[in-house]
């Protein structure tokens, strides 16, 4: 009986979705009405009906925008806790829950337990639990807490990565393991923490381990069998990087043969880093995926003269065969662990009088990139906070212009480098409102003292060659949540926070933006003005990704995992000792007062209007 009622509600929301004017979701909604199977490659670049939340970023464009508007600026103040769920794991909770067919899927940090929660029942009891039992030793080679950034869904299956570098496919209905593919080796420092993206029957996954001298890659697995379809390395010969005839980088600095070998000292590309641990986006019209590559290894740049291709940049690839189409290096010869892994959000906007397909990339190096996603041309790159490590981006050559006085030199202490190694913005994903044409960017304001040191490569151990200590940047605040106007190239508004805003962002058609703080506050703000509408104190600091969905009862819900950790919160989740300023690769120093504000946790909170 309950199920029949739910099926009816699903139909209604599907119909509503069609009238929302979000083109392209007809196929998905028809599928939803029939057997709720979502076909990945028919998803339009805009959001669907919003009833479900079928991928961590909400849609292939990575907008984290929901067309739901039941919760809006007029009533958000009345939000109240609907139910909660303890994950039983008290390390950093960076994942986004997924909602598909009346079930919520929650993946925990190591040991990467997957829970299916029944949203059709009061209090959302557990339908099933899947335990992949990853190798315990993998915890020792995970650079920045033992996090997992969430699962992916397609055709009745949940896909996700385990810390010990496996990808698993689990039957969404039963929790039965369908396949499990080993992709890496913890004895080489390879772990996996990112959320996969499923495109056209392929599960796209990447490796973490830039702090261990891994040779980074992105791999496509056949969603049906788990077999590896293709793998693109981010260092080494063109053939390994899947660079061929179609590769047309916009700037001369990224053009040439075998740059993944020649832009390194002999053989250092073999341990050169360039993993993938952020989010992947997909444009079905251009049929291209977009993702960023991580930092080169070791951290000490003196040890690896050259541009260190293809680390710290953005790739556009064909999802079918992995062929590279363009690349843009945000930080050639990265000096500060300024990865390129931050998400690329695909938006279509009029730009200087003409409609363009754009990619917005809030860079770790402190620059907000607006890039033509067909060609890789940088149209704008503006500092979105205090940067003194670079003088800007040369739009003629595309090249970041480093500030020489801040460049690391082996054995020399360089002080007040801004932004610090975690960058102006790290993994925490931004959200885009197509209604307001604003990008909601959680980020931080940290600087660092840095000494480059010798590095020894010993596989399975860290490959850094640097000591660093971070501290709050100018202004007396360490984090900020703001709405960036990419056309005006400035902030529409900002909210300063005491600690780095390490949670993701969410924005809805009700013009409400959501984010969490490391103290544990979950906040709703007016997306147009930044005015705070509501806040709720959760049990632990928030570093997760907020999501929203329409429940089987027809109401809009907002969900967030609370549980401090990650790189910024490891001082609490891993009990680091800040009397050593280099604890947590230097981050604990900047967070020494966090233990007075929050404790460990791992709880899902779900809110709704009364």
């Amino acid at each position: 009986m309950r199920f029949r009622a739910f099926a009816g509600a699903g139909l209604i929301t599907a119909v509503l979705g069609c009238t929302d004017g979000n083109g392209g979701d007809a196929a998905a909604s028809a599928g939803a009405a029939a057997n709720r199977t979502r076909v990945a490659d028919t998803t339009a670049i805009a959001s669907g009906s919003g009833a479900e939340w079928t991928q961590v970023a909400g849609d292939d464009a990575n907008t984290r925008y929901s067309p739901l508007d039941e919760i809006n600026t007029a009533n958000a103040a009345q939000l109240t806790l609907a139910w909660s769920f303890s994950t039983g794991v008290n390390r950093g909770q960076e994942a986004a829950p997924l909602v598909i067919d009346g079930t919520m899927y929650v993946v925990t940090p190591y040991p990467n337990i997957l829970y299916a929660l029944d949203l059709t029942q009061p209090g959302a009891p557990t339908r099933w639990t899947y335990r992949p039992e990853p190798l315990a030793a993998a915890q020792g080679v995970a650079c920045c807490d033992v996090v997992n950034r969430g699962p992916a869904y397609a055709d009745g299956r949940i896909f996700y990565n385990t810390l010990d570098a496996h990808t698993v496919a689990v039957d969404a209905a039963t929790g039965r393991e369908i396949w499990r593919t080993r992709l890496g080796d913890i004895n080489r420092g390879e772990t996996m923490t990112m959320a996969p993206l499923v495109v056209k029957g392929k599960v796209l996954v990447g490796v973490s381990g830039g702090e261990f001298g891994v040779r980074g890659w992105l791999t496509a697995l056949d969603a049906a069998s788990g077999a590896i379809a293709w793998r693109a390395y981010h260092t080494g010969p063109d053939a390994d990087v899947l660079i061929g005839d179609r590769f047309k980088p916009f700037y001369a600095m990224d053009q040439g043969t075998d740059l993944g070998v020649t832009s390194w000292p002999p053989d250092m590309w073999r341990t050169g880093g360039g993993g993938v641990w952020g989010f992947i986006s997909y444009d079905p019209d251009l049929d291209l995926i977009y993702y960023g590559t991580a930092n080169p290894g070791p951290w000490n740049p003196d040890l690896r003269p050259g541009d260190n291709k293809w680390t710290a940049g953005i790739f556009a690839r064909d999802p079918d065969d992995g062929a590279a189409v363009w690349f843009y290096q945000t930080s050639p010869h990265d000096l500060y662990d300024h990865d390129g892994i931050n998400e690329s959000i695909l938006v279509d906007l009029p730009w200087q009088g003409r409609d363009r397909k754009l990619l917005l990339h809030p860079g770790r190096n402190g620059y907000m990139y607006v890039i033509d996603r067909a060609t890789g041309e940088v149209l704008a790159a503006d500092a979105f906070g205090f940067v003194n490590s670079a003088r800007g981006v040369d739009l003629r050559t595309g090249r970041l212009i480093p500030e020489p006085s801040k460049a690391p030199v082996t054995g020399r202490v360089v002080r007040m480098i801004c932004p610090a190694a975690p960058g102006m913005k790290d993994w925490q994903p931004a959200a885009w409102s197509p209604r307001l044409r604003l990008l909601f960017v959680p980020h931080q304001n940290l600087c660092m003292d840095h000494e480059a040191l010798e590095a020894n490569y010993i596989s399975g151990t860290p490959y850094l060659g640097a000591d660093a200590k971070y501290y709050g940047g100018p202004g007396g605040w360490r984090g900020r949540f703001g709405a960036w106007d990419p056309v005006a190239r400035e902030w529409a508004w900002t909210i300063e926070e005491n600690f780095p805003v390490w949670s993701g962002a969410l924005v809805t058609a009700g013009d409400v933006a959501f984010y969490g703080t490391m103290e544990g506050w979950f906040k709703a703000v007016d997306a147009a003005s930044g005015r705070e509408l509501w806040r709720f104190k959760t049990g632990s600091g928030i570093i997760g990704q907020p999501v929203t969905y329409r429940g089987p009862d027809g109401k809009q819900y907002v969900a967030i995992l609370s549980g401090v950790g990650g790189w910024s919160g490891a001082i609490v989740s891993a009990d680091l000792d800040p009397r050593d300023s280099t604890a947590g690769a230097g981050f604990a120093s900047a967070m020494r007062d966090l233990p007075q504000h929050t404790t460990k946790g791992g709880t899902l909170y779900v809110f709704a209007l009364p």
């Binding site: 315990a136 030793a137 993998a138 915890q139 020792g140 080679v141 995970a142 650079c143 702090e211 054995g411 202490v413 003292d449 000494e451 040191l453 020894n456 010993i458 399975g460 151990t461 860290p462 490959y463 850094l464 000591d467 200590k469 490891a570 891993a574 009990d575 680091l576 000792d577 800040p578 009397r579 050593d580 300023s581 280099t582 604890a583 947590g584 690769a585 604990a588």
Partner: protein, 172 residues
């Protein structure tokens, strides 16, 4: 036929040994807990050969960086691995415990360095690790670092009496 084969295979019985020699209690090995059945015994299996030797401790400090210990444990404050300068010890604070942790690894991420590193160097490392929490004499602990000052020198480290791992004397 199959049943016959199976039956004949089942006739092979293992030998029971009725007259094993009595063995003394297996007191050796590295203890990880103060808890034991029956009356408390004192069982220090190994003595640390270097904890009164400043050169050995400073060698340990050099090796601590060169073997990438600092990459995980930082300069004692921890990171991927737990802090080493505080009073909490998951696997024991005694020199032989620290030696065993480095040599044999630990299940939640500590690699087994004993497969590649010699015992002398591991003892030096163990001495340095203990110096971070003030568990070696002040006059042998390193006083300063040659690099960026990131914490007080080991010589100045307050003695962090192990809170969760030390063998306790019998309660009154």
């Amino acid at each position: 036929m199959t049943a016959l084969l199976a039956a004949s295979a089942a006739c092979e019985r293992e030998t029971r040994r009725f007259h094993d020699e009595a063995q003394p209690p297996a007191a050796g090995g590295v203890r990880l807990t103060a808890l034991e059945p029956g009356p408390a015994t004192s069982s220090r299996a190994l003595r640390h050969p270097y904890e009164d030797n400043a050169w050995a401790v400073s060698e340990g400090k050099r090796l601590y960086s060169q073997f990438n210990c600092a990459g995980c444990h930082a300069h004692g404050g921890g990171g991927m691995g737990p802090p080493l300068m505080d009073a909490l010890w998951r696997y024991g604070a005694e020199p032989e415990n620290v030696f065993a942790s480095i040599a044999g690894g630990r299940p939640n991420g500590m690699p087994a360095f004993g497969t590649k590193v010699g015992a002398t160097q591991i003892w030096q490392l163990a001495a340095y690790v203990r110096s971070m929490s003030g568990l070696v004499p002040k006059d042998v602990a390193p006083g300063r670092t040659d690099h960026m000052q990131v914490k007080a020198g080991e010589q100045a480290a307050p003695e962090a009496v192990p809170r969760n791992a030390a063998p306790e004397p019998p309660a009154p």
